[in-house]
Amino acid sequence: MTSGTQIAPTPIPPIAPRISGRRRLHKLGWNVLGVIVLVVMVFPVYWMVATAFKPGQKILSYTPQWIPTSPTLSNFRDAVHQPFFWDAVKNSVIVVTVVVALSVVLAFLAALALAKFRFYGRKAFIVLILGVQMVPLAALIIPLYILMSRLHQVDKLTGVIAMYLTFVLPFTVWTMRGFLLGIPKDLEEAAMVDGATRFGAFVRILLPLVGPGLVATSIFAFIQAWNEFIIAYVFLHTPQKQTLMVWLASFTTLRGTDWGPLMAGATLCALPVVVFFLLVQRRIAFGLTAGAVRG
């Protein structure tokens, strides 16, 4: 396709402009496509944020208002004063913190075992981890509900945390294993000869090197736990125990949907993810590829 890559050492003047023109056109095409994709991706987010700042009567007007002309914070005020908002914030923070912390620690240790030790059933375990990912959530939710209710974990944050871990761990273990495999065995051995214990070599050499992997997996766990809706919705009945995503659903009632505060609430919910991502994005870009090269 790219006829622009010429091997000839001296470009022949009459042909050169035609080629570069075609190449420019080619480039333009890709750029236009890129912009279209960007707009499609960004627009809903923009619309959410824009709507959050619009006063009530302008939200559902027949002529769409692209830019809020008289921005207002009243939607945010309404959202924050909605019942159980702060309960939901607290619950979400608890769930996310515990899920991220536990999944990173467990995934690191499990991946360590899978990457560094040979044991019976290791291959089967690795395949199983992938296999679990294939089962759709909808098929699992009823059996899991029954299981959790037997364990008296329905309508409890611990139950939801356990559920989230079961879904987050396979991916994080798999990813971490890739990162650990990428670290040469020699480094650990050098540390052990240099005077470190096996555990010391893990902590001082492996752990810092696998940092990008930890960041990548923690982002994944964070997004999963923060944005998850179905499990939380099914398992958490009491309003005081609901997470933010379930709380957002409370704007849609039998009487209709209160769009302004809903969009304001959604904007508020999206903020932590964006902030977290901005904080660690410099490392994740490197991290995701670093793990991918040797998987």
Binding site: M192, V193, G195, I205
Partner: protein
């Protein structure tokens, strides 16, 4: 500093793959011993067992007289240089060098003093704050060396530390490592597959093959008196010429028949190797070093006629491939196959068995491929080997095997 003893050391993987078989080796205090052999001969496994990175299947390892079989690597007080250098990529050169000291709880000021001293000696002084990724191959190699030296361990273990360097740097670092080892007088076990490295660096060289120790000796003795065909073919570059010959007894004199030429063995040679007489009437393997193959001008002994196949000029000398009539050695299981020169050239009559003889000739000789040439072979410079076992038919003053720790 300490001596290292390997006693009946074996390593078996998974119950059936034997990597090291009954290895006995004693490395004296301050000695530089090189373990050498083709890849897969068990040399690295042996080194890793000394380091404690590989479990010992049977046998014993003693460092400084103390059995270390069950000691963790950290408790053996040895330092290792890895083939990949294994520098910690997230630490600066300073921290890489100081890591072992930190692990051993050496006081901070002492750490600083020692690291800076080593860095100065190795010419790494202004790179202490860099990370390994910012260093060249040679500099990384130095850091790896420095990390071993700075600890002042009982012994150095080096696993092919030069194999990742380019040829020029390798020669330079080879001398540098040997110099450092001589200055520090630290017991060193060095693993390599490169016999030139082995010969130039070691006080003694241990040649291994298929997990078995073949011969331990000084480089010169290894070269002059290889105990078997394998060592003969492995040591030396270019390798020793090996072919088959018949030994005949003729009026009490031994005659070596190479192709259709009879080479009379002088009586003093026969006296030196009394067991040679037992081989009269049998076939033996005969070896001669390339530098002992000479152009026949001025030689009044028996000459071998040959044809020049190829002349390789090395500047200081020329390497000449000469085709002679002789029986090629067919026991390829007894020699280092990688070191063997190519077989007979095309167009040679099948009934006539031919062997390519490698000769190191003076660079001023005018030789061209295709020319006929006569070579002189001094029977005193020949090496004789048993064709069945590959063992050298040795001189009386050479012990069949070097005594090892038992």
């Amino acid at each position: 500093m300490a001596q290292i003893e390997l006693v009946h050391l074996s390593k078996v993987y998974g119950g059936d793959v034997t990597a090291v078989r009954d290895l006995n080796l004693e490395v004296a205090e301050g000695e530089f011993v090189v373990l050498v052999g083709p890849s897969g001969c068990g040399k690295t496994t042996a080194l890793r067992m000394i380091a404690g990175l590989e479990e010992i299947s049977s046998g014993e390892i003693r460092i400084g007289g103390k059995v270390v079989n069950d000691l963790a690597p950290r408790d053996r007080d040895i330092a290792m240089v890895f083939q990949t250098y294994a520098l910690y990529p997230h630490k600066t050169v300073y921290d890489n060098l100081a890591f072992g000291l930190r692990m051993r709880k050496v006081p901070k000021e002492e750490q600083k003093r020692r690291v800076e001293e080593i860095a100065r000696v190795l010419g790494l002084g202004d790179m202490l704050q860099r990370r390994p990724a910012q260093l060249s191959g040679g500099q990384r190699q130095r850091v790896a060396m420095g990390r071993a030296i700075v600890r002042e361990p009982k012994a150095f273990l080096m696993d092919e530390p030069l194999s990742n360097l380019d040829a020029k740097l390798r020669v330079q670092m080879r001398a540098e490592i040997a110099r450092i080892q001589q200055a520090l007088k630290v017991t060193t076990v060095y693993v390599t597959h490169d016999q030139v490295e082995a010969m130039t660096m070691g006080n003694r060289v241990a040649v291994m093959r298929d997990g078995k120790l073949q011969q331990v000796d000084t480089p010169q003795r290894l070269y002059d008196a290889p105990v078997n065909l394998f060592v003969a073919s492995f040591v030396g570059s270019p390798p020793m010429n090996l072919f088959e010959a018949g030994l005949e007894s003729d009026d009490g004199k031994l005659v070596c028949r190479i192709g259709d030429t009879d080479l009379e063995l002088p009586s003093d040679l026969a006296a030196e190797r009394p067991s040679l007489a037992n081989y009269a009437g049998r076939r033996v393997a005969v070896g001669i070093r390339p530098e002992d193959v000479r152009e026949a001008a001025g030689w009044d002994g028996t000459r071998l006629r040959g044809r020049i196949l190829l002349v390789e000029s090395l500047g200081s000398e020329q390497l000449v491939h000469i085709e002679i009539t002789a029986t090629p050695l067919e026991r390829s299981d007894l020699v280092d196959i990688a070191a063997q020169p190519p077989g007979p050239s095309l167009g040679v009559d099948d009934s006539e068995r031919s062997v390519t003889l490698l000769g190191r000739f003076d660079r001023h000789l005018l030789l061209a491929p295709g020319e006929a040439v006569e070579v002189a072979i001094d029977p005193r410079l020949l090496h004789f080997f048993d064709l069945e076992t590959g063992a050298a038919i040795s001189r009386v003053d050479v012990p069949v095997a070097t005594p090892v720790a038992g």
